[in-house]
């Protein structure tokens, strides 16, 4: 660990300029990351609020807290807010924006003004969504399936679609920025083979964002056109095919789940190395697996459509292809585990979240294989089995990795150390709460409880009560960090440049870093993650 630090750097990115204008017109990637941090956190708690209402309703079998029409809006808004306004931007736009230029030894991203535009587009899309929340919500499910969304729904589909459309461009521009930056702004000596694995993951994520999101944009736009002009692109009564919408929608939305999880993989790769003080086992395989997942993830979308009139033969092919996506994910899990073996493991908060991720993501991923089997999927499609599967990956996986990343980079972003005892307590609450919430859902789904229903048969009552109880623990687990992280801004000890003793260019800057990151562009001569070096050589 680094020596006790007694003062913050005189000038850093937070105090370099004051005033609202200096924040709202900033082009500093670190300030933009903080803007995202604040807004994404707000959306996280908004999405969590909808989840709370869903779980409260499901505590009893009857639809007694909310009418079914209202319940439909609750789970839809939960999905839309969590996916588009939390999961997709969180790690890339917050951690990625903050850390990438520093990891590459650059002064900023390739296109700083485009970066700011990304945030404004995120805000614009988010405001449309907030507007929809206030005026009554949308009830189509986050998937906007036609013809319900385009013809029959009485909710604010077009406004929501517009919000999603605009936010999609935020995602595209961020991905574009990261890809170009990785290609053209690496410091001298920083070859692709020396890139931190977080960079490989974010590069892979950005590929998916660039190539997949436009198709979602057109799918949503077509739904809007169909709804406004009452024409029949997808409407069967006018000659259209609703499944065409699903093809266009899932072409993006399946790779989208890799947008949500690949950055988490990158975070875990970093944390596993730092907290076992050991270079990753099989760097090339982990890097290659990231790109492999990004590319291969585009070939499997039909596994969301097994129960539709999609051709059985197409379903066979999608099912077959879907099995293989487990391979690169499995490679990563094995490599992380092998990194831990004979490492010097310490159990600070980021590492606890990392352990949580490895275990829970594995469970979530394995249940994906269940779902890839077309025959089994016919029984568990649209049940809580699917809901549990993706929550294990998104919440047990991505949210945990996100919290791990926030705790890991908090000292760099703020110059302060958060209280680790509270961090570990919150991590434990999150882990326990998460499992209590979602494991019963596997059981309920397997036993046949359908998703997106406000009322359910009495036989599922106990499992749902357990799930709601877990959700309350989980909620506390998420609120506790909010408190101590904010507390730490004023009262916690100072962190210094490298509190974790980690390798990487970003840890060679002061905490908080100056606006332009480095005095001089660093020249990289070592391989990444050289944990065999002496401690003194680090800081």
């Amino acid at each position: 660990m680094s020596p006790i630090v007694t003062e913050l750097p005189k000038i850093h990115y937070l105090n370099a300029a004051y005033g609202l204008k200096s924040w709202l017109l900033t082009t500093d990637h670190k300030r933009i990351a903080i803007l995202y941090l604040i807004t994404v956190t707000l959306y996280f708690f908004l999405g969590g609020f909808f989840a709370l209402l869903v779980r409260l309703e499901l505590m009893t079998p009857a639809s007694d807290l909310l009418r079914p029409e209202t319940y439909n809006r609750m789970f839809t808004m939960h999905g839309i807010v969590m996916i588009f306004f939390f999961l997709i931007p969180a790690i890339p736009a917050i951690i990625g924006n903050f850390v990438i230029p520093m990891m590459l030894g650059a002064r900023d991203l390739a296109f700083p003004r485009l970066n700011l535009l990304s945030w404004y587009l995120f805000m614009a899309g988010g405001l449309f969504t907030l507007y929809v929340v206030v005026i009554g919500g949308v009830d189509t499910g986050w998937t906007f399936y036609v013809p319900y969304s385009s013809v029959y729904s009485n909710s604010y589909v077009v406004a929501t679609g517009l919000g999603v459309f605009i936010t999609g461009f935020s995602s595209i521009l961020t991905g574009l920025n990261f890809v170009v930056t990785t290609h053209t702004m690496r410091a001298p000596g920083l070859t692709w083979g020396r890139l931190p694995l977080f960079m490989w993951s974010l590069y892979a994520t950005s590929l998916v964002q660039i190539l997949g999101t436009p198709v979602l944009a057109i799918a949503v736009a077509l739904v809007g056109i169909e709804r406004i002009w009452r024409v029949g692109i997808f409407d069967p009564s006018l000659g259209g095919d609703p499944i065409l919408y699903q093809h266009l929608f899932w072409f993006y939305s399946h790779p989208a789940v890799y947008i949500m999880v690949l950055p988490a993989f990158g975070v875990v790769s970093e944390l596993v190395q730092t907290f076992s003080r050991k270079r990753i086992f099989g760097y090339k395989f982990v890097a290659g697996a990231s790109i492999g997942i990004a590319v291969y993830g585009f070939l499997v979308w039909g596994h969301h459509m097994f129960t539709t009139r999609q051709s059985v033969y197409a379903g066979l092919i999608f099912s077959f292809l879907s099995y293989f996506i487990a391979v690169p994910s499995g490679i990563k899990v094995f490599n992380w585990t092998a990194t831990l073996y004979k490492g010097s493991v310490s159990y600070q908060t980021p590492m606890l979240y990392t352990f949580g991720f490895i275990g829970l993501f594995t469970i979530g991923g394995l249940t994906g294989l269940f779902l890839a089997a077309m025959g089994l999927d016919l029984h568990v499609h649209d049940t809580y089995f699917v809901v549990a599967h993706f929550h294990y990956i998104m919440v047990g996986g991505t949210v945990m990795a996100y919290l791990g990343a926030i705790h890991y980079y908090w000292p760099k972003m703020t110059g302060r150390l958060y209280p680790d005892a509270w961090g570990r307590f919150a991590a434990l609450l999150v882990f326990v709460g998460f499992n209590l919430t979602f494991f019963p859902q596997f059981l309920a789904g397997y036993l046949g409880m359908p998703r997106r229903y406000a009322a359910y048969p009495e036989e599922f009552h106990l499992l749902n009560v357990m799930s709601t109880a877990g959700a309350s623990v989980l909620a506390v687990g998420y609120l506790v960090p909010l408190i101590y992280l904010l507390w730490s801004l004023r009262h916690a000890p100072l962190a210094g440049p490298n509190p974790w003793g980690a390798r990487g260019l970003e840890w060679q800057t002061p905490s908080p870093p100056p606006t332009f990151n480095f005095e001089k562009t660093p020249i990289v001569t070592d391989e990444t993650y050289e944990y065999s070096l002496e401690e003194e050589e680090v800081v």
Partner: protein
């Protein structure tokens, strides 16, 4: 003014260099890659529409052929030629920018914009014509013959695809206006012409989309 095939060096001109880059060469490389990444997104954006087209044409081959005969082939062909000519003007504009020739740059940009406007004018005439003939789905579509819904699908795709294309052209003309204003203020030079180059790429891309739209919408049923 003749130009021979030759290579030039970019010198370091500090007033055009953005702060995050080390030199103009890095900036140029980044801008080019960035624009091509954006064009990849546009390929997939239009690609979604082309996918819908492929699916429905495969399902309704006769209806699409019959409906396509109502497209004005002359207008479409002329428009294709106009758009390709505007691409030529754009290429010459980019070349003028690369050579630091301000007046030719402005002239070629204005020619590009003019031809683009001609394209949009002909398109507007076509749209009006369709409206008069009651062939606008969602507005006043009337079809006496059989396969009404299927034929309507062709016209729906026609309006959505050419409409999206036209919207991109309007954006392109706005971008070209921005370039003309910058060129008039002497913003571009032999060292710094990247905005012209990358907006040129965008303009050519919009031309590319039309090169595929034209045969797929206008030329289906002519041989029947």
């Amino acid at each position: 003014m003749s130009t021979r095939w030759r290579r030039r060096k970019l010198s370091e001109s500090t007033n055009a260099l953005a702060h995050q880059f080390d030199d103009l060469e890095q900036q140029a490389r980044s801008n080019t890659l960035g624009m091509w990444a954006f064009l990849a997104t546009e390929v997939l954006f239009f690609g979604g529409l082309f996918t819908a087209y492929v699916v429905y044409r495969h399902a309704f081959p006769e209806a699409f052929a019959v409906g396509s005969k109502h497209m004005d082939v002359v207008a479409g062909t002329v428009n294709t030629a106009v758009l390709i000519a505007s691409s030529l003007m754009m290429a010459l504009a980019v070349q003028s920018a690369q050579l630091g020739l301000r007046r030719p740059l402005i002239m070629f940009l204005l020619l590009t914009m003019t031809l683009g406007a001609v394209f949009l004018g002909i398109k507007a005439w076509e749209y009006h014509h369709k409206y008069v003939e009651n062939l606008v789905p969602g507005v006043n579509f009337v079809w006496e013959g059989p396969l009404r819904n299927q034929v309507q699908m062709l016209f729906l795709l026609y309006f959505i695809m050419t409409g999206t294309h036209a919207l991109h052209m309007v954006i392109g003309i706005c971008l070209l206006t921005y370039l003309v204003l910058g060129a008039r203020r002497g913003r571009f030079s032999r060292e710094y012409f990247f905005p012209v180059e990358i907006i040129g790429l965008y303009w050519h891309f919009v031309d590319l989309v039309w090169i595929f739209l034209f045969p797929l919408l206008y030329l289906i049923g002519l041989h029947l």
